[in-house]
């Protein structure tokens, strides 16, 4: 070996660009993700004087007021998951296996309902079926009383309609990637069609279905806006976390911390089940010959199309309701006959700050997400090491943490010097970056896996340094993946409620926070106008996403 030059080489190797990125991001994640998270765990074991105690946990597991919320959360999430499967699977089967009309349109409607602002569902169903709802009043005139929408039933209805798209999208993806030969083989063996579906098709898509179902469960478990609006007396965990934290003001957050730990335990358990039980047996293959799409007679075709359209439209209904109500004339907070632009006038007059906040924070967050998402996905995919797998694991962590919990942990961690961030725009932007970066990372990683390593080597070989090669070649090739991921990050950022509601202060309130407060004040017109701004931006962004990804990248 070259004794004299070896140490120098190690030194330059150590200070190269990628190590800088690697250790830099690790440091940032430790400060802004791991540290807050541990702060919350530690707080959950403290009493108000700062001594160690298990009192919070004891209270939680002994007082019905607390432990019932855990049960409520599991019950609403569990039941919504079951309904989502019952709705999503047949719908996926029909649209992938039969020649129904307007498949693209049905798909788009379903994707849009998944991407809608989180509480619009609850809000709209209240507008329709609530105490003074459109349909309620209609039926009341005919002398029929509709069942109340508030509480358990309403939460399950909204969760099911909002999250069944996960099941639908996952399963229809799997359905169309089963090779034709598999089902043909069963047909040859004389199985009837139903038997074939039950014994061949279903088992093959089972792991994918499970993955979709788990997404429904986790999203329901973490959702804050829906149960807050429509739950009324029926409390679920995230709502309790919020209320506890608000009442514990002064920043102890002991009980809220304990509740957060309980939620994280639940979702981590579910995620582990998915990783070790379900993901183990994944049979989905790339279909050489995609399955046959059955040609139906005209009558049946129209019937099935109508059925699918009905489901898609009901899922999309909240957004229509919101847009329509935003144009109804109001008198103060009360709707009156006729259409007008008062609601919009009001928000531009009163709430324009929220609108600029939303877009400003989201744009800053997205720029950071794009830069870091690109570098980090490259590290994780192409520079495998212990640290990069640690980064990978940390980056997936925000999937498990509900927004309200992330919000609390950041408040607990950053409410004192040297990092006094609570109440600032910075803390909100950091929360958005951490929570929404996984979308960008996942979609850029997917693209990176397809880039042949020798392409980069070819560039290096031609005399371009590895760092320049990354920017000249790799980054360019990753661009479509990064861009489509970034659009998803963008959509979910502008619609983010659960962490914003914990972190906002008067100056930093966003549109979603304003919608929430307006609804609480029963100012439905302005809430609808604000929500319409979000919905329209979301729809436009989704169209852009479709155009950028050319249908090659899935939103989920």
């Amino acid at each position: 070996m070259n004794a004299e030059s070896a140490p120098r080489r190690n030194l330059t190797k150590y200070f190269n660009f990628w190590n800088f990125v690697k250790y830099g991001s690790l440091l940032l994640l430790l400060v802004f993700l791991v540290y807050p998270f541990f702060s919350v765990i530690i707080h959950s074991f403290l009493d108000s004087d700062g001594g160690f105690t298990l009192a919070s946990y004891k209270t939680f597991f002994t007082k019905p007021y607390y432990y019932r919320t855990l049960w409520n959360s599991l019950a609403t999430s569990g039941l919504s998951t079951i309904f989502a499967v019952l709705l999503g699977v047949p719908l996926a089967y029909i649209t992938t296996r039969f020649n129904v009309y307007w498949k693209k349109c049905i798909n788009m409607l379903i994707i849009m309902s998944l991407m809608s602002p989180p509480f619009i569902g609850a809000y709209s169903w209240i507008m329709l079926l609530g105490r003074n709802g459109l349909i309620t009043n209609l039926f009341a005139k005919m002398g029929i009383t509709t069942p109340p929408i508030y509480g358990f039933g309403g939460i399950v209805l909204v969760f099911t309609l909002k999250f069944f798209p996960y099941v639908y999208l996952y399963v229809s993806g799997a359905m169309s990637s089963i090779d034709r030969s598999l089902e043909e083989a069963a047909e040859n063996l004389g199985s009837s069609k139903l038997k074939r579906v039950l014994t061949i098709t279903m088992p093959v898509i089972m792991p994918t279905l499970a993955a979709g179902a788990i997404m429904v469960f986790m999203s329901s478990l973490a959702d804050f806006g829906t149960p807050m609006l429509i739950g009324e007396g029926y409390k679920v965990l995230p709502v309790l976390v919020y209320e506890e934290y608000m009442s514990e003001m002064g920043g102890n957050a002991n009980m809220a911390g304990a509740l957060s730990v309980v939620i994280i335990c639940c979702s981590t358990a579910v995620l582990l089940i998915q990783k070790y039980v379900v993901a183990r047996k994944n049979y989905v293959m790339t279909a050489l010959r995609p399955p046959i799409v059955e040609q139906l007679t005209k009558g049946k075709r129209i019937l099935l199309t109508a059925l699918c359209m009905l489901v898609a439209v009901i899922a999309f209904l909240p957004q229509i309701v919101v847009i329509v109500t935003s144009f109804i004339k109001t008198n103060g907070p009360i709707f009156v006959q006729g259409f007008g632009l008062e609601s919009y006038e009001k928000i531009f007059y009163k709430l324009s700050k929220n609108i600029t906040n939303t877009f400003l924070f989201a744009i800053i967050a997205i720029v950071i997400i794009i830069v870091f998402g690109m570098l980090l996905s490259y590290l994780v995919v192409k520079k495998k090491s212990k640290i990069s797998s640690a980064l990978d694991l940390l980056l997936m962590f925000p999937y498990v943490i509900p927004g309200a919990v992330l919000g609390i942990s950041m408040l607990v961690a950053f409410n004192k010097k040297p990092l006094m961030l609570s109440g600032t725009a910075i803390i909100m932007i950091i929360a958005y970056v951490i929570r929404k970066m996984p979308y960008t990372i996942r979609s850029s990683s997917a693209l990176l896996y397809q880039i042949d390593p020798s392409i980069e080597e070819a560039s290096i070989n031609l005399g371009v340094s590895p760092m320049k090669t990354f920017f000249k070649i790799t980054a360019r090739m990753m661009a479509p993946g990064v861009l489509s991921g970034a659009i998803l990050s963008w959509i979910t950022t502008i619609n983010e409620l659960s962490s914003s509601i914990m972190l906002y202060s008067g100056k930093t309130a966003t549109i979603s926070v304003a919608i929430y407060t307006e609804v609480v004040r029963s100012s439905f017109g302005t809430a609808a106008a604000l929500a319409s701004i979000l919905t329209v931006t979301t729809i436009l962004s989704l169209l852009l996403f479709n155009w950028v990804s050319k249908g090659k990248v899935s939103v989920i």
Binding site: N2, R9, D452, E457, A458, I460, L462, G463, V464, R476
Partner: protein, 361 residues
Amino acid sequence: MSHSVKICNVVKRYDDFVAVNDISCEIKQGEFFTLLGPSGCGKTTLLRMIAGFNTIDGGKIYFDDKVINNIEAYKRDIGMVFQNYAIFPHMTVFDNVAYGLKARKVPKSEIEPRVLKALDLVQIMNLKDRKPSELSGGQQQRVALARAIVIKPGVLLMDEPLSNLDAKLRVQMRTIIRKLQRDLNITTIYVTHDQEEALAISDRIAIINSGRIMQVDTPATIYKKPQNTFVAGFIGTSNFMDGKIEQIGPDGVARIKLDAGFEFSIKLKKKYEGRVKISVRPEQFIMNDSGESGLPGEIQMYTFLGDFANYEVKLKNGQIIQANEYTKDIDFVREIGHKVNLGFNPEKVSIFNEEGTEVLS
């Protein structure tokens, strides 16, 4: 002017596994040098060490008199052609070829003529504005080649550049590569596991097995004078037969008795006693209907292959031997079951020690 390359006791380890085990060889300036060996023997690993994509765990590599071990890959002044071409998909053919020149800060006015000349050399001038997705495999290969030579590299490396092409195109491309390499006089290290390709294209070949060099020689010497049984068996077809040195004279002439029942004398270059292995190529046998000087056997199988016929002959000790006979030399077919006598010229066959690691003749 391209470099000579000197590889000295080079080692590459993956944990406990030694992929390149103490390899040494010298490649002359302007030489076409081929690394040939079975899959997994370490050819790619060695090539990537020269390119700078694999670290060197032991030994040194020199370009001319300069050790390159610690020079970064992008500063090594190497042109490389990859097995899967590695064309930049977002650039046109022209921009792909110009890429290395731009990186070298070649003046703009010079770039265009040089790129066009390189494209002309590989005969794809007309495709210069195409995107890679609009090219066939063979055309992409030409782009890769043009991109590697346009920078006038000190050393040109190629890792199985033709293995993704069909047989006819492969022959066509290898002629182009060889001609180009001669005209430009670039030191070239070429990796392949196709022995026919290696024999056809190379000035010299290094045969590698399990991370070690077995022999370095010109194609003709490799074929005619294999240094060990691995090379004899890997290049072309060889029949191996066991035997024993019966007696050895003071002049070095040994009397060798084969187990299959035939004795002959030959002058050995090395002193050796005991059991030996001899290797005879199928076309080295002289087939007779009868006669004493040769191995007696019986024809088991006959395959007509146009310019020659291949026989499987069973010897007295049960061993099956491949023997070829040119069809222009005979005008009849030897039937299955026919008794024959297989003679050979002892001067032409290879005689090895018992382990097959050393040639004696």
